[in-house]
Every structure is written in C-alpha cells, then in structure tokens.
C-alpha cells in the first residue's frame, strides 16, 4: 500500500492505496465518493469523468498512485455551500436526467467545456461531450441544458440543494 496525498474537492486528503487500484476504485471504495460512476472501464463511456490537475480524465484509466500530489474534483465538488451549480440546476430544469447514471460524468465534462469555452457552439458542445454516453438518449436535453448556462439563462441564481419535500413525489399506490 502507498500513502498518497490529494486535494480532493478543495480539501487536503491522504489515503492509503494499492498500486493496482484506479483513481475510480479509490474514490468510490475508499473515499465514499460514489457520485463518480463505474461503467465501461475502457475509457469510452465517460461515466467516471473527474477533473485531475485542471483537465478532465476517465478515472477508470488513471491509477490512484498517479494522482499523488494532484488536485481532484468530482461531481460532489460542483455544488457549493449546499447550492447546486448553475449547470446542475440547468440539467434539472431541462429534464436532462432520466436514469441519471451518466449524469455525474456529463456534468464534469460540461463543466470543463464551459470553463474552456464559455460560449460554445452546438458543435463544440457535441464534441466536448463526445466522450460521455447516455443510454437513455437524453442528448438533446443535455445539450440544451449546457446551452442555457452558456447563454446565461440559468447562471443568475443557483438554487439551493432541493429538499426532499420539493421533489416530485411518486404516486401513492391505492
């Protein structure tokens, strides 16, 4: 086991890792950050996308020891002070989420895209998110959600993390 030090979502952390464990393994299994999803494990689906030292990566293709001394942001790091980021809020209001499994990765890729190109064209959004697959087929809503943030339509007032009571309630069985 090797002790590694990270800045994880803005906080210093150290964790003991096995050399053959990926950053994805350690985030989920050792650090309890299960927002980052495990899916294809070959770098095609983007579900495990995190930001490492300023660039997004597939955390299934990074060994945990490689991140030693690095700065890692996961989807848990997007909301601040209990408030969803504008991008997260936009995904909610545009119905960009069906099953939700790919959404942490989509959010990390879209967040990165908007940092690099604050006003991306539709083609740039498609290219920026090409490494993130959605099997529910929410691509149109996801692209609209990103466009809305780029246009400033959602940026003004990030919402609080929604309380349970505010979420749509499932129908009650009679």
């Amino acid at each position: 086991m090797t002790e590694i030090r990270l800045t994880l979502n803005g906080n210093p952390r150290s964790v003991s890792v096995a050399a053959h464990h990926t950053l994805l393994d350690v985030l989920r299994d050792d650090l309890d950050l299960t927002g980052t999803k495990e899916c294809c494990l070959v770098g095609e689906c983007g579900s495990c996308t995190v930001r490492l030292d300023g660039r997004i990566v597939d955390s299934c293709l990074v060994m945990a020891v490689e991140a030693d001394g690095g700065e890692v942001t996961t989807v848990e790091g997007l909301a601040a002070d209990g408030r969803l980021s504008a991008l997260q809020e936009s995904f909610v209001t545009h119905g960009a989420v069906q099953c939700g499994f790919c959404i942490p990765g989509q959010l990390m890729a879209a967040d990165d895209l908007l940092r690099l190109a604050p006003s991306p064209s539709r083609a740039e959004i498609e290219e920026g998110l090409a490494g993130n697959l959605c099997r529910c087929g929410c691509y149109y809503q996801i692209i609209e959600a990103v466009q809305a943030v780029a246009e400033g339509a959602v940026a003004a007032a990030p919402a609080r993390v929604r309380e349970q009571a505010e979420l749509p309630q499932p129908p009650v069985d009679q």
């Binding site: 095609e44 997004i56 293709l61 490689e66 895209l113 090409a130 490494g131």
Partner: protein, 274 residues
C-alpha cells in the same frame, strides 16, 4: 486487475535501470489510456509498472530547437491540439490528434505513447511519418535516434530494445513551402478506431509524402521526389485485414482511394496558399 508493483523513478537513469533489470516483466506507464485497459483485461500481466511522467527529460513540452520541433514524451494529444506552433508547422498532426478518442482521452493519451503502442490504426502515425519524425531513445547503451519509419515493425512491435525508452519526438521544420492534410474514416464520427487513416505532405519542389494506417500490420510511408506521382502503386500496396470487425477489405480499399484524393486536394490547396 492483477496486483503489480509501481515505481515512479525521478530520473532517466533510474527508469532505464528498472526497465533493464525487469525486462519484459515491466511495463511503461505514460498516459495509460491503452496500458490500463490491457492491465485490466489481462493482456499484460507485468510484475512492475514504471510511471515515467515525473522524469524531467520526459516532461510535456513542445519546443523549437534550431531547425527541429521537439515533443517531450509526456506531451498529450490536448497539448498538441492547443499548440500554436504545431498548428502552424504541422497541421495534419494537429488534425489527427484532435480525432483521438474524446476530450478525456486526449487529456491523458501521449503522442509518444501512441507510437510506442504501435497500433496499425494509430491516428497520429501517418502525419508523423509524412513529416519525417525521428524518435529520441535512451537505454542502457546510451542515446540513439530512430526514424519513425524504422521504428514500426508490426502491430504492437517496435524497434525498442529491452531497457529502452522513447523520450521525445523530433520533427524537422520544413525548409520550403509545404501543404499537408490528414484524412480518416471511422464507423462513427467520434471516439472510434480508424478503418483508414491517411496523411499527405507536399513541398514546393514537387515532392510528395503519403502515409496510411489501418491497412496492414503497420502504418506505411511512400515518398516521391519526381513529381510523377505513382499513386496507383502506393494504393495497391495496402493489405487490409480480412477479419477486422471495423470494416471489410473492399470497403477499406475503396475508402483509401477516396481519402487519398481528398487529402491530396487539400494539401495542394494549402501548398498554393502557403
């Protein structure tokens, strides 16, 4: 993933020493976008993985040194795409690097790793071949340079000897006006391995360099200085796999002709505008 030991040597000598001592039982880790997949699926089962990313000589860099541009072994596809120098001098390489994987993959995958992996479908191999790329290699016997065309042997096999590492790619800066272009055929628009990948470079004296990949056991380079382009001979040398699931041989040969024509047209336009 099967357990292995991990080493992160701080200098080149230590890395070479580790690789020489462990031989084929060690694997080099740079970007990891191919290696980690193969560690996971069991294709490779090394006892030692040597991470070369913190070796100063292998740091990411794109540097003009006299009449050459040097690309350090740690340089990623994203670094290539974002480099104004590369865009100006080696546009076909930038076009190819932009096609590799996704943003997440390009942020990690290295240009040198793409060559060392020696996939016949490597997107960046044809442009590097037409630009006359030379690899700088360090090993137990010291430093040597190998032209990329002499480096590829066959799929997954290179001229690297045991204990050797590629530390940089050297690209000669063209001394005359040139026009170059990259073309690629895939099953879908992004994030796919190429069925045909091709690059062309023309110079103002009438010289032509054309390279293609995914059409045989290694990417191949053709050169002509006469101006009387033997294109048919070059295209007939293609040996597409009959068993690949990505595309049948007839389709690949038909697309090779189309892509070669398109790349030559674009390169001619660029030469005229240069």
């Amino acid at each position: 993933m099967r357990p292995f030991d991990y080493a992160r040597p701080a200098d080149l000598d230590a890395a070479i020493d580790l690789l020489a001592r462990h031989g084929s039982d060690a694997r080099v880790l740079a970007g990891g976008t191919d290696l980690i997949i193969r560690l996971r699926d069991g294709t490779y089962a090394p006892s030692l993985v040597v991470d070369v990313k913190r070796i100063p000589e292998m740091a990411p860099r794109i540097e003009r040194v006299d009449s050459v541009v040097e690309v350090g072994a740690g340089t990623t596809m994203t670094d290539i795409v974002e480099s104004a120098l590369m865009q100006r001098l080696f546009p076909a390489l930038v076009e190819a690097a932009r096609f590799v994987g996704s943003v997440q993959i390009r942020n990690r995958a290295t240009l040198v790793g793409n060559q060392c992996n020696a996939s016949p479908a490597a997107d960046t191999a044809p442009p590097l071949l037409v630009y006359g790329a030379v690899l700088e290699i360090f090993g137990p016997a010291g430093r040597r340079e190998v032209a990329l065309d002499d480096f590829f042997i066959q799929s997954g096999v290179t001229a690297l000897a045991e204990g050797e590492l590629v530390t940089a790619i050297r690209l000669p800066i063209p001394s005359e006006r040139t026009g170059s272009a990259f073309q690629r055929r895939t099953r879908r628009r992004g994030h796919d391995l190429a069925s045909v990948t091709l690059a062309v470079a023309l110079d103002e004296r009438g010289g032509t360099r054309l390279a293609y990949g995914s059409l045989g056991p290694r990417p191949v380079l053709f050169t002509d200085e006469t101006g009387d382009l033997p294109l048919e001979t070059w295209l007939l040398a293609a040996r597409p796999s009959s068993t690949s699931m990505r595309a049948g041989p007839d389709y690949r040969l038909a697309m090779l002709r189309v892509l070669a024509t398109r790349a030559l047209d674009t390169a001619r336009d660029r030469l005229a505008a240069a």
